[in-house]
């Protein structure tokens, strides 16, 4: 039962996991050198950790636990630089984005570790199609009950995170018309979706034990929920974000999650309500398909409104919390992007329209990840 023991966090701490694409410098298709790169990075002193992910085309950056946005941003920056530098020694490039625009999933190979082999055996082609790249944001909670409350309340804001991070308009060589096509790949898994509407941690444990007794899951890892509690870290983990095209944006998204969590846990604006889950699928689709141009149904006010407006209101609403956490600047930057209608997905489409080649779109995206000055707005 140790695994399910909720380790309390001191306040809304922050942590980020970023799944990154490794691409070859000569054709910008996905590379298969994650193992080589990880071996090199082992010898480099890094603030966080870099880990293998399911395919050999992917690495994952894990930040340390932070209380302030600025420290997280600085750490991600340093990790980004180290990874880009070491990848360069191997003639590889690294880029953000929720999916590789033109790779063919049949060519992906799964990383040869036991867990990943098991995933491949169990899920077949889904596991390979799951070559998508996400950002996970951890926010600390003082108790399991807080975590349950926070998961329910954060669900209303899931479309915000989808729209603000969306960066996978192209998938397997096609414009999917979605802002985030990655989310669709996640949906295919049997344990995707959301946490059931439990009222507290005790009830959640009951549910978990039942599922384990059924043999549906072995551990929390088997739930691919949009937001899930992570008892051993004492956090909730928001998993709906595409990996943005820059570390700056990744850090800003985390700052927004932190401010929201602080507001929700400190003010407890309302009790958790089942209604959020009634509109969740609709809101989630709108955000993935249309991004900032989508609609959102507010389950509490029972109104439909433009998602962008809702995001701007929420950003303004939690600004006091953000200021207290020294993250106001991050939220202001996100708000400015929403106001001018900027998204990473649109940037990718714009670059493709300009250079008419998905390979060159990946090249520009990698240059942007590495910190080069972007050509277009953003």
């Amino acid at each position: 039962m140790d695994e399910m023991q909720f380790t309390p966090s001191s306040g809304p701490t922050l942590g980020v996991e970023l799944e990154l694409q490794l691409v070859k410098s000569h054709d910008y298709d996905l590379a298969r050198d994650a193992g080589e790169l990880l071996a090199r990075l082992e010898k480099v002193k890094l603030p966080g950790a870099v880990k293998p992910e399911i395919t050999e085309s992917m690495i994952e950056l894990n930040s340390a636990v932070h209380t302030r946005y600025a420290a997280l941003a600085a750490e991600l920056d340093a990790m980004r630089d180290a990874v880009v530098r070491e990848a360069g020694m191997l003639n590889l490039q690294v880029c953000g984005g929720g999916a590789h625009p033109f790779h063919s999933w049949t060519e992906r190979r799964v990383f040869p570790t036991e867990r990943f082999k098991h995933v491949l055996e169990r899920y077949g082609y889904l596991a390979k199609q799951f070559t998508v790249f996400g950002q996970h944001i951890h926010v600390g909670c003082a108790s399991g009950d807080d975590a349950v409350y926070l998961v329910h309340m954060m669900t209303r804001y899931v479309p915000h995170f989808i729209a603000l991070s969306a960066a996978s308009p192209f998938y397997q060589g096609e414009d999917t018309s979605f802002q985030s096509s990655r989310l669709t790949a996640v949906n295919a898994f049997p344990l995707a979706g959301h946490m059931p509407f439990v009222k507290d941690w005790a009830e959640f444990l009951e549910y978990f034990d039942k599922m384990r007794a059924f043999g549906v899951v072995e551990s929390m890892k088997d739930f691919y929920w949009d937001i899930r509690p992570k008892p051993e870290f004492g956090t909730i983990e928001i998993r709906v974000c595409d990996t943005p095209l820059t570390v700056e944006r990744a850090a800003r998204l985390a700052a927004y999650a932190q401010a929201l969590a602080r507001w929700l846990l400190d003010e407890r604006p309302r009790p958790a309500q089942r209604a959020v889950y009634l509109v969740n699928a609709f809101n989630r689709f709108e955000a993935a398909r249309f991004g900032l141009r989508g609609q959102l149904i507010d389950p509490f006010a029972e109104t439909k409104r433009p998602l962008a407006e809702d995001i701007l209101d929420a950003l303004a609403g939690v600004m006091p919390q953000a200021s207290a956490l020294e993250g106001a600047e991050a939220l202001a930057a996100l708000a400015a992007d929403v106001r001018r209608g900027y998204s990473d997905a649109d940037w990718l489409r714009e670059r493709f329209a300009a250079n008419k080649s998905l390979a060159h779109t990946v090249r520009e995206s990698a240059a942007r990840w590495a910190g080069d000055k972007p050509r277009a707005s953003g």
């Binding site: 070859k24 910008y28 298709d29 298969r32 050198d33 250079n355």
Partner: protein
């Protein structure tokens, strides 16, 4: 009744029939060797060539081989262009030790082969010429094996990079040895100095001009894969033709064209290069023809020197990779595999020998026999070594099957 419309018997088959026959022979040979022996298809292409060639069946007469030189040059041109295009100057800039390792790989190999040949009592100048030829790895084998295995990874990338570098250096060394060969033949100082300058400078110039034309036209054509493919083939063939008629080096011209087209593409007008099925045709032709021109008959007489040549070549390359590989980021286990992958010699070496012989008949006899016999052995063993190395390094795509 006269049937004047009937051809004279036996009918004279021209170039098209030759082209078709070579392709068919290559296809059959490659597939048979793969199915029956589980060896790389390339080995089958070469064996098909050997069987057709003057040494076995004589279906391909030496005269036909002369005519086919155009095909060899075209195929080699396309392949060497692709190789040059893979040579990423930025990688060398970021990873200086890699550059050192690539230079050392050529230098050590040259030195080792030279020492071996001197030990066999060959005249220093001619031994150096042979060592220069031996420095080059076959670009065609490396690229084709990598293509067919859909290999991707550090050993593959480095094999191609080292091959590009050692081909260039081998040619430069060979050209720089020209003045000495000239002097040996009591030609004028002026000719001795100007000839290598003409070859290197002229080839570089043609490659440079062609690369400018390629980039300019690619920008104008736009990012259409089909149109860019035609453009690339057109300019490669033009450059091959220009190099041939100006008595320049096809290989140097095309490798420079490839390198500059890649590294001068500041506006990013070129799409990633994919020769696909069209490229395959030229690979098959090249291997069948080099198979037909290999020289086995001399092998028994010079077997010891050939063995020394091959072993010294391997050790030279291996020593450099072991010495500098770590610093450039080669994992310890991969150094041996990379050395093995660099083993092949083929069409390029045959062309080098033929060219040198044409200019200096003294570079004939026993030494040419040693080099050509080494080529013959490595034609067969090389692709097997490269395939083994890439598979063993885990860089082959398991779905791609065997090369």
């Amino acid at each position: 009744m006269s049937l004047g419309f009937l051809p004279q018997l036996p009918p004279a088959f021209g170039q098209p029939a030759l082209f078709g026959a070579l392709l068919l022979a290559g296809l059959l040979g490659g597939e048979l060797v793969r199915r029956l022996l589980g060896l790389p298809r390339i080995t089958g292409y070469v064996l098909a060539g050997v069987l057709l060639g003057p040494q076995v069946s004589g279906l391909l007469a030496p005269g036909a081989l002369g005519e086919a030189r155009v095909l060899i040059d075209l195929s080699l041109g396309l392949i060497v262009f692709e190789l040059g295009h893979r040579l990423d100057a930025q990688w060398l800039r970021r990873n200086r030790w890699l550059f050192v390792a690539a230079i050392a790989e050529s230098a050590f190999c040259f030195g080792a082969v030279l020492a071996a040949l001197l030990a066999f009592g060959f005249q220093p100048l001619l031994a150096a010429t042979a060592a220069a030829i031996g420095t080059a790895t076959s670009p065609a084998v490396g690229l084709l094996v990598a293509h067919e295995l859909r290999a991707s990874g550090q050993v593959t990338e480095r094999m191609l990079l080292f091959t590009a570098v050692n081909c260039v250096l081998a040619y430069v060394a060979l050209t720089l040895l020209l003045p000495f060969l000239h002097l040996e033949h009591a030609m004028s100082w002026r000719e001795a100095v100007l000839h290598p300058l003409y070859i290197l400078g002229g080839s570089a110039l043609v490659g440079f001009v062609a690369s400018l034309a390629m980039l300019w036209l690619a920008g104008w054509v736009g990012k259409r894969e089909d149109h860019q493919f035609i453009l690339l083939v057109a300019l490669v063939v033009l450059a091959v033709g220009a190099a041939r008629s100006l008595n320049l080096s096809v290989v140097v011209t095309l490798i420079i064209l490839g390198m500059l087209a890649r590294n001068f593409d500041y506006e990013h007008v070129l799409l990633p290069l994919r020769f696909g099925y069209g490229g395959q045709l030229f690979f098959v032709i090249l291997f069948v023809l080099t198979g037909a021109s290999v020289e086995f008959t001399a092998l028994p007489g010079v077997a010891a020197a050939v063995a020394a040549f091959i072993v010294a070549r391997f050790l030279g390359k291996g020593l450099a990779i072991v010495a500098f590989g770590r610093l450039s980021g080669v994992r310890p286990g991969s150094a041996g595999l990379l050395t093995l992958a660099l083993l092949p010699m083929s069409g390029l070496a045959v062309v080098m020998v033929l060219d040198t012989q044409a200019m200096y008949p003294a570079f004939g006899g026993e030494l040419a026999a040693v080099v050509l016999s080494a080529v013959a052995v490595l034609e067969i063993l090389g692709p097997i070594a490269t395939q083994f190395a890439l598979k063993r390094a885990g860089e082959a795509d398991p779905a791609a099957g065997s090369a």
